[in-house]
Structures are given as C-alpha cells and as structure tokens.
C-alpha cells in the first residue's frame, strides 16, 4: 500500500534547493467531476535529485494530477506545494520553479524553434536569454532547426523542442508526461541520460509518466502506481516486482491495472 512521504516545509524559495530537499509536496489531493472521482486523496513528494515515475493505465488520473500541479486545474481538495509555495495561493511564484513537457502540448507550430524558446524564455523571466536558448539548442541537437517552424518538425524533433522549452528556466521541478513517446530508441536513450543527469547535477526533481516499463526501470528512483485516482503502490521499480510476486515491472503494471477494475466489471449487467 502507498506510503505517504509528503512532509510539511516552510516556504523557502530563495537559492538553489539542497539535494534531497522536497521540491513537490502533494497532500490529500482530490478531484471530482460530478460523481466521478478522477483523483482521490493522493499524497506524495518529489525530492531534489530524484526521478519519480507516475504510472497507471489510461484514465488513472496521471494527467489530472499533473494538470493540478501545473495550476491549470483546481484541486477539489488537498494542497500542492512547489518549493514550499502553495500553487493555489501563490500560483505565479510557485510555477516559476516548475516547467513541463507533454506530448499533447506541442509548442505553436507557426513559430520557429528559436522564436518559441525566446517567447517562453521571456514569459518565464529567464535571464541571459540569448545564451540560454543557444545552449539548449546545442544540448538537444536543434541548432540546425533553429529557424524551422515547429509545425513542420517531425514528432521526435517536436519532443526535443518541448524538452528544451521545459528546461528554459532551470526548473526545480520538471514534469514530463511521456517525454520519449515519439523518439527513436537512440534519441530516447540520449534524452533519458540527459534527464537523469539533470536531476542529479542540476538539482532538479522530476515527475515522469510513461507507459514504457523498461524506461521507467532505467530512469526512475521511485514509482507510484496510480489506478482509478488512487495510489496503490509505491517503491523502487527494480525491487517492487519481486516484492509483489511479479517477474517484471510490466507484469506488475498489468496486474495492478486490471485488479481494481474487476469488481466493477462483475457488477456490470
């Protein structure tokens, strides 16, 4: 069963966070759409240097949780703190410490790669923006595409642009919703290594959703299994399968994804 690792902290956004300090603290988070509970009493934290995998079947509540963290969806109950700042009360200040990349939120296709990065750099208030953009273009092998409109890029290239945007403000909290879904295996491996290094060297906490269990094992320090809006399991992805009598993480995923559905399925006429 889930263990809640969320802890209360004082608000201390100034200066870089120390390794191991919580960057995201979620306590008692719930969201209902009418009678449908999209997220139910979810609590967890993400610490600096840590990559936490948020796993679960479609409709489990992963994107709802991420949207609430990003301040584009109000929680029905519970609190979300980014570097100690309550997202509900200090939305702008809290979101200045976060960023995200998601396959369903591509950047405007009628702007070029560099233009998009400049626009979002200004919105995030990034200092020395020109150098930052150049550095990210190099980091994600986008220099040759800098003047290409995002709308004509391949999905893999768009993903790399999204990742570059996500790192613009050197976020303390990075939310990645299936970040490697459109990448070829070679690029995906490079991106995984970059993100893994980012967590450790750049003092960043990462919340990662993926349906690729191999990737989750390779990247995540800890995983949370979400099903029907609740956290059912939490632990080290390399140890959890054995602890629960499964051979692989994928097998465990399938079992957990199907088990809670069984009672409802039986009840249906």
């Amino acid at each position: 069963m889930p263990t809640n690792t969320a802890t209360a902290t004082t608000e201390s956004p100034a200066g870089p966070p120390p390794l191991g300090a919580p960057v995201l603290e979620i306590v008692g988070l719930s969201k209902h759409y009418g009678t449908l509970a999209a997220v139910r009493d979810v609590s967890f934290s993400v610490r600096v240097g840590e990559v936490v995998g948020l796993l679960g079947p479609n409709g489990a509540g992963k994107t709802t949780t991420i949207n609430m963290v990003l301040g584009v969806l109000d929680p029905g109950a519970g609190t979300i703190r980014i570097r100690g700042l309550d997202v509900s009360r200090r939305r702008s200040a809290a979101l200045a410490h976060a960023n995200f990349a998601a396959v369903y939120a591509s950047l405007p296709g009628n702007l070029t790669v560099a233009q998009n990065l400049r626009v979002f750099g200004l919105i995030y208030g990034v200092s020395a923006l020109r150098q930052r953009v150049r550095s990210l273009l190099e980091q994600f092998d986008l220099t040759e595409l800098r003047d290409t409109k995002c709308g004509v890029l391949s999905s893999g290239e768009q993903t790399r642009v999204g990742l570059a945007k996500a790192l613009l403000n050197r976020p303390a909290l990075l939310l990645l919703d299936e970040p490697t879904a459109s990448l070829d295996p070679s690029t995906a491996q490079i991106v995984r290594e970059q993100i893994r290094a980012l967590a450790v060297h750049h003092k960043c906490g990462i919340l990662w959703t993926s349906h690729n269990m191999y990737e989750v094992e390779a990247v995540c320090d800890r995983v949370l299994f979400l099903s029907r809006g609740q956290i059912l399991l939490e632990g080290d992805p390399r140890v959890l399968p054995q602890q629960h009598g499964a051979r692989t993480l994928e097998e465990l995923f399938i079992r957990i994804a199907r088990e809670p559905l069984a009672p409802d399925a039986e009840a249906r006429p």
Partner: protein, 267 residues
C-alpha cells in the same frame, strides 16, 4: 505585474506577423475597402444633397472612427484566437504568466496593429476624399480615446466568451460591433431611435462620441461633460471586461475546461 512576460506575449504576435506577412493585410485591407466605398457614397451624396451640407465628415468620418473601434476589438480577439487556434493555453497558463500580464500583452498588440490600420485609413480618407480630422482640433483625442477603450473592452469580453464556451463560439464575437452599431448612432442622431433603443444608446460610450462628432460638424461645441461621461463609461466597460475575463479564467481552471482546451484527454 512584470514587463518581461508581457513582452513575451507581444513578441509572439510580432513573430507571427513577421513569419507570415499575409497576416498584415487584414489590418488595413477591409478598413481600406470601407473608406473607398463610403468615400464614393459621400461624394455622390454631396452632389445630390442640399447645398452646404458636407457628408464627408458626417459619414466618412463616422465610418473611419467606427472602423477604428472594430479594428481595436479585433486586434485583441485575433491575438487571443491565435492561442486558441494553436492550442497553446496549457503551455501559456502552466507558466508564471499572470492573467493581467496576458491581457495587457493582447491590448498592447492591438494598439500597435490598430494604429497601423488607423494610419492607412487616415491617408486614404484624407488623400482621396478630403476628410480632415485636423478640423476637429483637440476633440480628436477624446473621440479616439473613448472608442479605443470601448474597443478594448469589447475585445476582452469577446475573448472571455471564447474562453468560456470553447473554440466553436468564435463566430459569436465577430458580429459584436455590428450588433452595437445601430444603438451607437454611428450614422444618425440617437434621437432617431425608438425610446428603448435610446436607453441602450445612453449606456454605450460610442453613442456620445458620434453625437459629439455631429455637433462639431454642424458648427457647434459638444458638452465636455458628455465626453467625460463617455470616457468614464468606457473605463467601466474595460474594468467589467477584465473582471469578466478573470472570472471566466477562474471558472475554466476550476471546472477543468482550460486543461481540456489543449490536452487530448484528462486522465
């Protein structure tokens, strides 16, 4: 409110115009067509109308000012719709960007694009049809200011409607100026209207501007209190528009509509 996020919103619109110059055409094309059409109508009316009555400032001046208001409104809504069309809300509002910064960015964009349109209209109307706003003297300033503020208010209100009811409601905002025009007395005195329409006209700032325009063209002096009242009303409309947008934004965040605007699904 910070300057850099506002610059980000404006810069995006600048890049759009620079990357696709065809977007510049609507800024002056339709208002230009209007000026040419009404320019010839007024020229014709001057030949058949009573001697001594000049229709150019009465009709062409009114058309120019009304088109300016429409252009201002569209400047705000088109900038907003660019984010709707490119499904950009999640990217924008998952940032530290404040709603006020976003709205100010839209307004600044509209000011720049509308001034461009106004300049083209003035050149056409003056060069080809002899319209001179210089004859209005300093009154041009309050006229333009009131219409500018009311256009901004309409633009913000229209954007709030699309934010609330979704991209399909875009068609609702285009006819807004046409719906208001009969009440605003753009081409005729408000006294021409039935009583109930006059009551509506009384709370519309443009109606006072066009009444004042007709007074000036007729050789009179408009009451300063009327223009002051129009300006105050226009400020109230801007305030109401901004409050409506903010309130709608809170609603779409609470209900999940904002997240659904961009996300394929809300899991």
């Amino acid at each position: 409110m910070k300057l850099r996020p506002v610059c980000g919103v404006v810069l995006r619109q600048y890049y759009l115009l620079r990357g696709s110059p065809i977007r510049v055409v609507p800024m002056f094309a339709w208002v230009g067509v209007d000026i040419v059409l009404w320019g010839f109508i007024t020229r014709y009316l001057n030949t058949v109308g009573p001697a001594g009555v000049n229709f150019v400032p009465r009709l062409l001046g009114a058309v120019l000012l009304w088109d300016f208001l429409t252009r201002i409104m569209q400047g705000v809504t088109v900038a907003f719709l660019e984010d709707v069309w490119s499904r950009n809300f999640l990217n924008l509002f998952a940032t530290p960007l404040l709603v006020s910064e976003y709205v100010v960015g839209l307004v600044v964009t509209s000011v720049v694009t509308s001034l461009f349109g106004l300049a083209v209209m003035l050149v056409l109307a003056t060069a080809f049809f002899g319209l001179s706003f210089l004859a209005l003297g300093a009154l041009v300033v309050p006229f333009v200011l009131v219409l500018f503020l009311f256009g901004i208010a309409l633009g913000i209100l229209g954007s709030a409607m699309v934010l609330r009811w979704g991209p399909a409601s875009e068609w609702l905002i285009w006819p807004l100026p046409a719906l208001i025009a009969p009440f605003a007395g753009v081409f005729y005195p408000v006294a021409t209207l039935p009583h109930w329409m006059q009551a509506v006209a009384a709370i519309l700032p443009p109606s006072r501007v066009f009444e004042a325009l007709r007074t000036v063209v007729g050789g009179g002096t408009p009451a300063v209190s009327e223009l002051a009242w129009a300006a105050a009303l226009a400020f109230v409309y801007v305030l109401l528009g901004t409050l409506t947008f903010t309130s709608v934004f809170r609603y779409v965040v609470r209900s999940g509509l904002l997240a659904r605007y961009s996300a394929e699904s809300v899991g």
